[in-house]
């Protein structure tokens, strides 16, 4: 693999005068190498690393905005009664918080990681469709500007929950719903374009010798995620389009009065929605599968079973959507079908958890910040998987549905799952991105602060839900007061802890101890064969794959 490093180094000194380039590429290289300075560099860039950085920064900004909304929610719920905000504004906060975290924070963070890492991991010089890449990123800020501006419109922003069930989003929604629909369309286009880029890059741009079964799991999980995205984002687009025409153009897809059916909305939405939740977790599996072996100094246990497990999760995810609808009055046969399929999904998920644990078994473990986040991911994501299994039991779900138990479940899989893995990835690859080591002490403080606060925040929600506290309410019965106070305190602490992460990243980008090409002793993969920071153009000649 050293060959790759040397080729890399020599290319940099040669610049774009390399004789290997034909004229077409020469032109391209030219455009890249003379990157414009200042803001125009970022607006015009087609470089996968720049675009990756843009996605990651954007995602962090969204994380902070969505987080601020969560702080408003938790402040209102600190005590029973209505103190701080109007119920309608509270509903807008829960709705937009959810939309921003799903479409603005988690998904773009994964796309950012994909942009940065996939070409480097498979030995490609860039993403396959660099110009489209630029577009897929830059329409995102537009979409969120539209969504956020709808909050200031007369009648307020979307207030019907991130799941925008009809008739809440049709008959009873504010006029700004048109903007909501438009914003979702743009986000959808952005993710589809991003996904197409990932698929084409992985299928066509792998270096010679990089066979499918040699690809790092992050690449595998993203390939499968990208297929999921291409399959279900258009269904989401269809759903919002129907909402739009029902609300503004007199159709009756979801209106019983005109022959439609509101339950149909839920079927179509969750046909998208359940694969969507796997879109938000599969890349995490890839990240954790990179980090655990590194800090265990062992090969990943069961590589091929990981690939097959990921693929089966993706396929099964199309057969479980109605577990979100157990209480809509489905016939028993359907309830059973969806219950068993849902439980079946936890088998490949269990395989993964088993493999990670087996990888750590008898490894020589060290606990740098990325590893801490990855281990926390395994444990806490598994808790989320267990609460998911509880919810999958149809008769039990009749009690849990629409309570805080569901809120606890999906925050364990999404915050301590998806977000923790993204944090782990950031710490893991920051030295490669910036060329500097991050502040390990601050990183550890960030980890422990997050770990403790996130559990104070979300664990008591299980009990609130079991005791019957409904979700999406600005006020609650007195017996829930103590636990809600605790949850809110955890919430504020978790929110503040994330500012430590901001400090770590800014410090690391500014300077610090220089990072070697391979800062982690046990790390494997092509990205560690190039110097840190990774050169602006990497793998311009394909690396040799051993």
């Amino acid at each position: 693999m050293n060959t790759a490093t040397t080729t890399q180094g020599s290319h940099d000194s040669r610049g774009h005068d390399s004789s290997e380039h034909d004229s077409g590429e020469h032109h391209d290289q030219n455009a890249h190498d003379h990157k414009p300075k200042g803001i125009m560099r970022w607006i015009l860039t087609t470089n996968h690393k720049d675009i990756g950085t843009l996605y990651l920064c954007f995602s962090f900004l969204m994380f902070l905005i969505g987080g601020a909304m969560a702080m408003i929610i938790r402040a209102e719920l600190y005590q029973p009664g209505l103190q701080i905000v109007e119920p309608n504004f509270f509903n807008q906060m829960t709705t937009v918080h959810g939309l921003i975290m799903v479409f603005g924070a988690v998904m773009p963070a994964f796309t950012g990681l994909a942009n940065w890492m996939i070409p480097m991991m498979i030995g490609a010089p860039d993403m396959a469709l660099p110009r489209m890449n630029n577009w897929s990123f830059w329409i995102l800020p537009m979409a969120f500007a539209i969504l956020l501006s709808s909050l200031f419109m007369e009648g307020g922003g979307p207030n019907f929950g991130w799941t925008f069930y009809a008739p809440l989003s049709t008959t009873y929604s504010p006029p700004s719903t048109a903007l909501f629909v438009f914003a979702i369309h743009i986000m959808g286009i952005s993710s589809i374009l991003g996904a197409i880029n990932v698929v084409v890059t992985i299928i066509n741009m792998r270096a010679p010798g990089m066979t499918y079964m040699k690809m790092p799991l992050f690449v595998w999980t993203w390939l499968i995620t990208a297929f999921l995205l291409i399959a279900v984002m258009p269904v989401l687009a269809a759903t919002v389009t129907m909402v739009l025409t029902d609300k503004f153009f007199g159709t009756s897809f979801f209106a019983a009065a005109g022959g439609g059916d509101p339950v149909l909305f839920q079927h179509i939405f969750w046909f998208f929605g359940h694969p969507e939740v796997y879109i938000m977790i599969l890349p995490s599996f890839g990240i954790v599968s990179a980090i655990i072996p590194t800090f265990s100094r062992k090969k990943l246990f069961g590589y091929s079973s990981m690939v097959y497990a990921t693929a089966s999760i993706a396929i099964l995810s199309f057969t479980v959507w109605a577990h979100h609808m157990f209480t809509t009055g489905m016939p028993v046969a359907a309830e059973l079908f969806f219950m068993y399929c849902t439980m079946l999904i936890s088998v490949p998920t269990g395989v993964k958890v088993f493999n990670w644990v087996a990888t750590m078994w008898r490894g020589s473990l060290t606990f740098e910040t990325p590893m801490l986040f990855a281990i926390a991911f395994i444990i806490l994501f598994t808790i989320g998987g267990f609460s998911g299994l509880m919810l999958a039991i149809t008769p039990a779900d009749f009690q849990y549905h629409d309570t805080y138990f569901v809120v606890a479940h999906f925050h364990y899989v999404l915050v301590t799952g998806a977000i923790f893995s993204i944090m782990a990835a950031a710490y893991y690859w920051l030295p490669k991105w910036t060329g500097n080591m991050y502040d390990e002490r601050l990183g550890k403080i960030h980890f422990w602060a997050s770990l403790i606060s996130v559990n104070v925040l979300f664990f008591p929600m299980h009990f609130l839900g079991l005791a019957g506290m409904p979700r999406r309410v600005p006020d609650y019965a007195l017996q829930f007061a103590d636990f809600n106070q605790l949850v809110s305190i955890g919430g504020f602490a978790f929110g503040l802890s994330q500012l430590i992460f901001l400090v770590v990243v800014v410090k690391c980008a500014r300077g610090g101890e220089k990072a070697p090409a391979k800062p982690w002793e046990g790390a494997e993969g092509l990205e560690w064969d190039m110097p840190s920071p990774a050169p602006y153009h990497s793998h311009t000649t394909p690396p040799v794959i051993k």
Binding site: P234, S252, A257, G329, P331
Partner: protein, 185 residues
């Protein structure tokens, strides 16, 4: 592989992938009729069988099935709407007529549409309606009242364990929809 042919190859693959987009978009919409067909075939959603021919079946005198009636009025609907009787006991195969009373309390002409639903949902397929006010929307002038008929029979194939059905109507204000001529059920 040289740059040009790689570009062509990338373009081709992205085009193929892009084809999936309209396909899945259309699939989203196709779920609407598919859902209706599925519900109709299986009777899973409590949707009603429309059967224009009255029962010519043998009446199964050995059994009695109770059909209960419920009505509800959607928000924004200025009518009263009630069944004349709360339930009827019928033999499977027997043609029966029941009446519902509606009255427009508003001082404007209004168009109403009743949407039926049967529970238990799986029994919906055995409730055959030969005539129902719910097949069409119903206009009423200000203050006008009307008696509306439902003619039905319960098919003798109904499983013996089902002894009671509930037929519930929700009455919606479709004046706006009617003006837009979208009143098909």
């Amino acid at each position: 592989m040289d740059e040009q042919s790689l570009k062509r190859k990338n373009g081709k693959l992205s085009l193929k992938l892009m084809l999936v987009i309209p396909l899945m978009f259309a699939f989203g919409f196709a779920l609407v009729p598919l859902y209706d067909v599925f519900c109709q075939v299986t009777g899973l959603n409590g949707r009603i069988v429309v059967n224009n021919a009255p029962s010519s079946l043998v009446i199964d005198k050995s059994r009695i099935v109770r059909l209960q009636f419920m009505t509800s009025i959607a928000p924004g609907m200025p009518w009263t709407f009630e069944p004349v009787v709360k339930y009827v006991d019928v033999h499977p195969g027997q043609n029966t007529v029941v009446k519902f009373k509606a009255r427009n309390l508003a001082d404007l002409p209004t168009v109403g549409q009743a949407i039926p639903s049967v529970s238990p949902g799986l029994a919906a397929q055995y409730l055959n309606k030969t005539e129902c006010f719910c097949f069409n929307s119903q206009p009423l002038d200000a203050g006008e009242s009307v008696e509306m008929a439902l003619v039905f029979f319960i098919s003798p194939e109904i499983p013996p364990e089902i002894t009671t059905l509930t037929l519930s109507y929700s009455l919606f204000n479709v004046t706006k929809l009617a003006n837009n001529n979208i009143t098909k059920i």
